[in-house]
Symmetry: D2
Subunit: 446 residues, 4 copies
């Protein structure tokens, strides 16, 4: 088993503990063997030594919400049959920027599963992927839930594409009684090879609810029976309340209520230590939205969200780094359905490879302590997804996912961008060589 020693750096291990200066991290194969002060540590002769003197070592970052497969109509239609290439590109863009683990909360099941497995087996370099497949209750990308094709496309095309996303657990479930819904979800879990469950507690962009609390309980039960964590898409206070009542494990963008989270709900969140995967934007993006952004953004990212964010941070809620990040190439940036939200905007949201840096800035701007921000971007995510034993911190026995930074991220949050190297499963990531093939990101990189 190969040994690697990272020597001399300051280790901020993701547990929230005081950083260890001038430390030695010994990696054995894919895992961390030990973290010790250099003084008194004998580095094995066989170990490959990485000199990290003056540098800072943090756990690989974890993003609780990304979308590796593109759902833009253009891409969906152009790359049909080749989606794996897009997922691979995205997984490498994430990894390159220090995100060693991502949770894909909606996407094209088959290609995501394939890329996940290829990365897991070592066949492909990329961020470690966990997938939900479809958001139960939503129809596919070419539907009113996302991009309505109106009468531009015929029913065969629409059905063929959407079925690949819906996987039999689309909007039609909302018409069904609870036992039938539960059966459909159970079948889906068994068949799909997913890692966690996500369902829609409300519509994609409106406050209309999808599943009643009664049905939500049936879904959560099916997931828990299968040993999976559950989360829901929510936008409103009531959908958040229903999700919590139904027993969800992670509150995905639970901060995005249009009116402030009521006290009793906030209290419940804090008391039960429910992880909140909070989408938070930088101040300057919000200012742009306020001044020049399109109306839907002005409503979604209004004062209630800001109030929620500040209260959650003040109260010490268990936040998770979450970005909704996807590859934002030229085609997407100029698509009429997307352009108003990102074009000319500073720090646009939802940009894989970038938005996690912006999230760390944004929480800092709202008063989160630097150490808490790091924990939110590492350990909290791992624990929320039930992976705390394997991921999220630099501790003996865990997977060796690390990022080495030039400067201290606790001193200046922008230092997260100053990546020296990324190590995943004990191996140094060839950052300059990935994405090995630029497709959607081709132009933006040029």
């Amino acid at each position: 088993m190969s040994l690697t020693a990272i020597v001399g750096g300051t280790v901020i291990d993701g547990t929230g503990a005081t950083p260890i200066n001038d430390a030695v991290i010994l990696l054995a194969g894919e895992r961390v063997r030990s973290v010790t002060p250099r003084d008194g540590t004998a580095v094995p002769e066989s170990a490959k030594v990485i000199n990290a003197a003056g540098q800072f070592v943090i756990p690989g970052l974890m993003d609780a919400n990304v979308h590796l497969s593109s759902a833009l109509p253009d891409t969906v239609l152009e790359y049909e049959g080749r989606y794996e290439e897009l997922v691979a590109e995205a997984a490498q863009i994430a990894l390159r920027s220090g995100v060693t683990t991502v949770f894909d909360t909606w996407g094209h099941l088959e290609s995501l599963a394939a890329v996940r497995d290829r990365i897991r087996s070592g066949d492909l370099i990329g961020s470690r992927i966990f997938i939900a497949g479809n958001i139960i209750g939503f129809d596919g990308p070419l539907s009113p839930d996302f991009y309505s094709p109106n009468s531009f496309l015929g029913p065969r095309t629409v059905k063929r594409i959407n079925a690949q996303w819906e996987q039999g657990v689309g909007q039609e479930l909302i018409w069904l009684p609870a036992d039938e819904v539960q059966k459909r979800v159970r079948d889906y879990i068994e068949r799909a090879g997913i890692d966690f469950v996500k369902y829609a507690a409300c519509a994609h962009t409106t406050p209309l609810l999808t599943f009643s609390e009664h049905l939500q309980r049936a879904i959560v039960e099916a997931a828990h029976n299968a040993g999976l964590t559950v989360q829901a898409h929510t936008l409103s206070v009531e959908s958040l309340r229903m999700e919590i009542a139904a027993g969800a494990d992670i509150l995905q963008h639970g901060n995005l209520t249009r009116t402030p989270i009521p006290d009793e709900l906030l209290t419940a969140i804090l008391k039960e230590e429910l992880p909140v995967a909070a989408l938070i934007q930088t101040r300057r993006y919000l200012e742009w939205v306020h001044d020049r952004g399109p109306e839907p953004m002005r409503l979604a990212f209004g004062p209630a969200q800001d109030e929620n964010d500040c209260r959650l941070i003040d109260a010490g809620a268990k936040l998770l780094l979450t970005t909704d990040g996807a590859v934002l190439g030229t085609a997407k940036r100029n698509h009429p359905a997307i352009a108003p939200y990102v074009k000319d905007a500073p720090d646009p949201p939802y940009e894989l490879g970038e938005s996690h840096f912006r999230w760390l800035v944004a929480v800092t701007e709202r008063g989160m302590r630097p150490m808490d921000a790091l924990v939110a971007a590492t350990r909290n995510v791992a624990e929320a997804y039930g992976l705390g034993a394997e991921l999220g911190t630099i501790e003996s026995g865990k997977r060796a996912d690390l990022v080495i930074l030039e400067e201290d991220p606790l001193v200046d949050v922008h230092n997260y961008r100053r990546i020296v190297s990324v190590i995943k499963d004990g191996a140094i990531v060839p950052r300059d060589a990935i994405p090995s093939r630029r497709i959607l990101s081709a132009d933006s990189a040029a």
Copy 2:
């Protein structure tokens, strides 16, 4: 007080009792004084005598669900400021066809209230009107809930029109917490002068839910505290279940679930004797829908509805005549959003002045006993709306709303169309003179 004696007819009084042949109905002013066999009844000399020998007298029909004010964009825009004229026309079309009382379950509050009051005061002839105003949770007619104006109209126009329908209780309520929702509903009830409450339990044409059960309870409580009955718009099993759990008094088109009503829900409906205002179409309309109708209609009026209808009727559920009827003139019949559903169709639904006759045919086709059908069209509606002491039957002390038919409606359901005369509040309705002004119905009458 003026006396009127209707002499010699067979009285089917709406209570379900055996008809009384050769009877005398004595009306005193606006009310029924007595119903007795002619033998042994002395008709007061001062009474005006109506000879009904060989004819059949039934209570004035009651429609549990109509829309007197048009919501078609064309009409809404053309007649702004003159909606009262449209409501008056509709109320007269209903009355002319034997419907002496209607429950308007969604419409333009101000004009409906005005016409209701003018009719009540005797200033205008027309069906007796009870109103709900807005369906709480829905936006106005020029919105995605009904007819989306896309970018054809500007925000001022859209807002100005919609506000007249929304009355502060539109879709925005869905974002709010329960106490705020309840407050808004309470204010609306106090301000609006409505007669009963209707809210949206699900979207207008999709299964998406609007209010959580939590919020539904808050709305029902507000209504009940104000002494009003409550009903909800539902389309799916879950929305029906939630409405019942929340305590609704009438299940408006509760038969329209896309999958059959589950047994336990049906049992609850029967046990609690919950009134079901069931939209039921004639067989030949359903055949047309199946063969040539547009897809939404094929889905909405599919096998589940038929199964529900038959089971409800078989089990003796408390059904109410309900038509969703509105004036269906040439403009509406040819509107691109409406034409596919009604044009060239036999027995098209939703046609004020016609659809109640079709409903009586439709329930008979599904095996309802003739006497039960009459009760469903009279007493059941009155009782469901808490008006059993005043309306719904020909009994001493009740309002004198009667329809005299040429032939026995219990022998042939088509005999409901053979109206000799309509009496409302003790006075003969001048059927040939109404609608006194044809507007939307002008062409169809020509």
Copy 3:
């Protein structure tokens, strides 16, 4: 006959002649009797004297292209039956800002004719109006030519509204052979009481042509036989060429070709002294368009237009002030079809009451001499429309339309805004009292 003497001002009479300092303009009734130096002029005792010492007197401005009746769907639908009120408001907004004569080149015939006649008869204060009615070949406002109602409105509404604009000379004429087209145009002229003819040589916003040259000749002939001037809507080089070949009298926005006007065409325009009603924007509006304006504007107002404008001005073409001006109130400014073009823009085009000032700035920015600019805004317009004997200059015998300015407009073009008073037909316009009723302009004035 009442006499008025304007004494002491500098008269810039619109002929291009050297201004006369310290002059006396004597008005007799509705006409100018004389313009003379004060020295040696005896002002009749009965004359009302207006002291214009230190001020500048110019002819009333003339706008070769306005639209007094709103065509916005919102307004068209809301004000049906009351369009005269809107036309009256617009005519007063124009007059108030110094424009004493306007040429309405597309609008609602009946209301325009009515307001025109009321103003002519002295019954109403307002700009003098000459009208074209429909642009022959275009369908009404609720059509693909302008605002397509898609399936939002039904065919009856669309037809009813559009017919009021189309007047039997809409797009259907394009299908017809020449003799039939000519007959239809002749009938229209006879019936409609219009003052000049405008037809479409190309589509409203695309380069597609409407009438072939063959048909254009038939239209022009019909107009000339009726003694009317003709102009066409053109956007492209070819449509401009065809219009000229067909014999049009005024080139309406003839400067708006997407590629530069070819030399031989420019030569023909100059040689025949064809009046060009050139839509010209200020530099800062064009910069805004270039930086942030919507694509259609960037294409329409691109380098070719600028090149055309400069060449036309350099070559001394006979330009006419033309603005396409309409009342730009809050509703229009925020309409989704309009907002991208005017909102947040400096010097937005098409704004009645404002855009003529901007036009004078814009031509000056492109090097037109101040005196030529004034002539383009007065005499040229009158002559182009065949009204040179009556309007356009301050000369003996002509109608007494004058604007008195505080400062010299030849020194600073912004001085056109510094209006002291407007005189039309010899009478002082009560500028503070108009528009006597603000409707569409209500909010913008607030």
Copy 4:
């Protein structure tokens, strides 16, 4: 050189001459060597003999207007990069049904040229193809000219796809002056390897004109200078007149004027013997259109077309068989933009492999003599396209394209469907083996 003798059949040679009974057609290689009565003809021993006794031999049919490459958005997007497969399928569907030569008047240049060349070289079996590439003046399939993608697709996708059709000669040419247009067309001809030129004289479905007569002349001149025939897309009388004036060689669907072709134009067509490729539908399709068809079809195929058709046939105009045929598979048949025109319709138009049979029925229904119909489907097409020396008749020296029928097509026009065998370039077509790969036609064949 291989010899083949077709012996004993009745030869209707496409020249209009009296059929030759009991004839011998001797084919040498790809060409016809002789056509002689059997009596007195010595069939060479080396010749392969085909016994056609009792059968009827006609020239291979020629369709003056087909579209082998699909332009439906679904197909365009799904098969990008594989269009050749679609063109090959279509060329084989045509050939299988007796059409040995087709003229593709609009399509995807590159794939059409490739398939044309493969067929020409003997590498692929299929109808002989001649191509126009783009209709000069039209934008690509994903544009307002055909299927507008509105905001469903982004600009990159739309541009990428459309550019493959537009080839630099799209709608933008309409803005340009004549010399520039001519240059662009010349470049296109030189670069594209097309066989004939087609331009738009009017819009795709509206009467708006595209190129002025001035520009049309420039285009025609460029084509003629390159030795190519020219045709235009026309829909209205004026566009037809302009096309003729500009010098077009074939009047493509010249019969589709909305008002009857004026006498002088008809006279010119007859006098100059201009070939009219007339789209003509069967009576029962027109009845369906009249009763139940969508409005655009009712207008396009109205009384004027029928009058034109009858007059052209009566007057003996030089008609060409033309179908606008494309593969009409299940996807297309159910596409919302297509379904209203073909679904449930008898004899739907535009169906490759079928519509030529319907055309022959349709002209017969309108009184065309059987022999003239055959000539219209063979010799006339060849001559109109300048290919009379090679194709269109069974005459010595011409290409050996033949169809052998079971029964006499001159006796009953439905006999064209009773194909025994198809011979192209002297070789028997393996009709049962084509299309060798069913793609778009897969379902309809199942």
